[in-house]
């Protein structure tokens, strides 16, 4: 059997094992050579979607050029190879999340689909009128809308756990929301707007004590810190490949085997069946039961390469690097007159949302784009959080493995231009 990792080295740079060296990481990201309006690109929007290292790009190209066929189907060499790579990517994800069993890893197209899968399959099968689901004020729309749809369909109650003005998840208030009717707690592990890292262990403990299951939206978490689903003891965990330096079109749902086993299929079709007659279909075992149709084959393999890449850097090293960046950027931003940081929880990932007195986030973004700086401006798919904070929009700079302190300097200089224009 051939393996991409034999065919090519997916580890960062050419000195694997060395400690975190941001310049070496940067050299792996071809897009950082781009200029924008004649300025070097300063990419501070990784929270929306991260750039890709050549190890991921090369893996994707390599598979298409040498190892591509549909998976789980053909009894021929190439299909076996593609299947081995696709299933190999599942093993990498299992290892990455420290799941007990590879069958607990379901490939989806993104985290949005992962959450919808739980709502449509588990939620429809096991929740009843009057049951309660708790989410928080700082959820992304993708962890709100599927639960609202389920609420309306089944007559559930949706409760909202509050955050403080500075973005801290309020554990005591959360505790008071739990009742014996609470069946699910679905919370973001890291807020995409505020950067807040939620107290996941405590949330799981309290929820389990109340008899509720827990789902974490890990879209922003897995990129910034090590995640161990067994240590967390959560029941479901979702993340999305494109924010983890992998391709778009691939996401992951982790679920405890006994839950996934008991759940009905989400989508019906090819690949998820054991046998089909017009009278009756029996379903394939996990994980295939939840992967109807041809999956995102190359995207999954590319995600595997991205996981190799960040794992070789070390998630703890990444966390330390980004902590330094966040501390530095926070200090520099605080020096800009009229700038207000939104989200200052002590436990925070490298996301810096802010507003300026004189300029709307949209105008900020337009102005600093001319200096080559890419940030996100808007409601960040978290309109209820914006409403809670009394804002319509924020500007958000988010940092990834390839950012360095100079990026924060360029950002702050560009914000001074904003002040020159808007006063």
């Amino acid at each position: 059997m051939s393996d991409v990792s034999e065919a090519m080295d997916t580890r960062p740079g050419d000195r694997p094992g060395a400690t975190f060296d941001v310049e070496r990481v940067r050299a792996d990201f071809p897009i950082l050579n781009e200029t924008v309006h004649g300025r070097p690109l300063v990419f501070l929007d990784s929270a929306a979607s991260a750039q890709k290292p050549r190890q991921v790009i090369d893996t994707v190209r390599h598979v298409y050029e040498h190892e591509y066929a549909n998976v789980h189907r053909g009894a021929y060499h190439l299909s076996e190879r593609a299947t081995a790579l696709y299933e190999g990517a599942r093993d990498k994800v299992r290892d990455f999340l420290n799941a007990r069993d590879r069958k607990e890893i379901i490939f989806t197209s993104n985290v949005t689909e992962a959450i919808n899968l739980v709502a449509k399959s588990w939620g429809r099968a096991f929740l009843e009128e009057g049951d309660e689901i708790i989410i928080s004020e700082m959820e992304h729309h993708s962890n709100i809308v599927p639960w609202q749809m389920l609420r309306d369909e089944k007559g559930l109650t949706l409760k909202i756990a509050p955050v403080s003005d500075d973005g801290v998840f309020l554990l005591d208030d959360f505790k008071r929301l739990l009742t014996e009717r609470t069946k699910l707690v679905a919370i973001t592990h890291v807020s995409n707007v505020l950067g807040t890292i939620t107290p996941a262990e405590e949330i799981v403990r309290l929820a389990h004590d109340a008899g509720a299951k827990v789902l974490f939206d890990g879209a922003q978490a897995v990129v910034h810190m090590p995640v161990d689903v067994q240590a967390l003891d959560c029941d479901f965990y979702g993340f999305t490949g494109h924010k983890l330096y992998g391709p778009s079109g691939i996401g992951v749902l982790y679920g405890k085997a006994e839950l996934l086993d008991a759940m009905p299929p989400f989508l019906g079709g090819g690949d998820m069946i054991r046998s089909v007659t017009f009278e009756k279909t029996t379903y394939a075992p996990l994980p295939a039961k939840f992967e109807a149709g041809t999956p995102p084959i190359v995207q999954a393999i590319g995600l595997g390469a991205a996981i190799d890449y960040v794992s070789a850097l070390g998630l703890a090293n990444i966390a330390a690097h980004e902590r330094d960046l966040l501390t530095y950027a926070t200090q520099r931003l605080a020096s800009v007159e009229g700038l207000r940081l939104i989200g200052t929880a002590p436990d925070k990932a490298a996301v810096a949302s802010f507003t300026m007195e004189s300029a709307h986030p949209h105008d900020i973004s337009t102005v600093i784009d001319r200096a080559g700086v890419a940030i996100r401006a808007g409601h960040h798919c978290a309109e209820p959080l914006m409403a809670r904070l009394g804002l319509v929009a924020t500007a958000r700079a988010s940092f990834g493995i390839y950012n360095r302190r100079e990026d924060a300097d360029v950002l702050v200089d560009a914000l001074e231009t904003v002040r020159e224009i808007f006063g």
Binding site: A359, H362, D363, A371, G378, V392, I421
Partner: protein
Amino acid sequence: MFDELRELYQEVILDHGRNPRNFRHPEDATCTAHGNNPMCGDTLTVYLELDDDGVIRDAAFEGKGCAISVASASMMTELLKGRTAAEAKRLFDSFHGMCTEDDFDMAAAEDADPDALERLGVLAGVREFPVRVKCATLAWHTMSAAMAGETEVTTE
């Protein structure tokens, strides 16, 4: 490199952005519509008072948005008063052309009022910033929806 920014954020625009005119909710509004730009979360409500002859007697707005969308709404409300619905629509068409067409010819926009168009010319800088065109036209889309009897408009 900042020339285009200066062109976009001219003093007139910054002034209207900071001190929007007709920023209020008139009691006698006959048509009202709510507009929003989902990309940036800008929201505006446009109020129009049309008399029996279809002439706009009062135009006002409220809402939150960036400098461009607020300035455009502010200037629009100033320019609409005294115009018929059809004139307002023609002005919007010409303004839209000005914001989107590189070779837009002010003189050839014969139907519209040249003075009004010249005043709106300060907003033409958005041509260089395609994603901002929606900001400049949000109030106008909302105005046009209000006159068509629609209450909600979204710029996609």
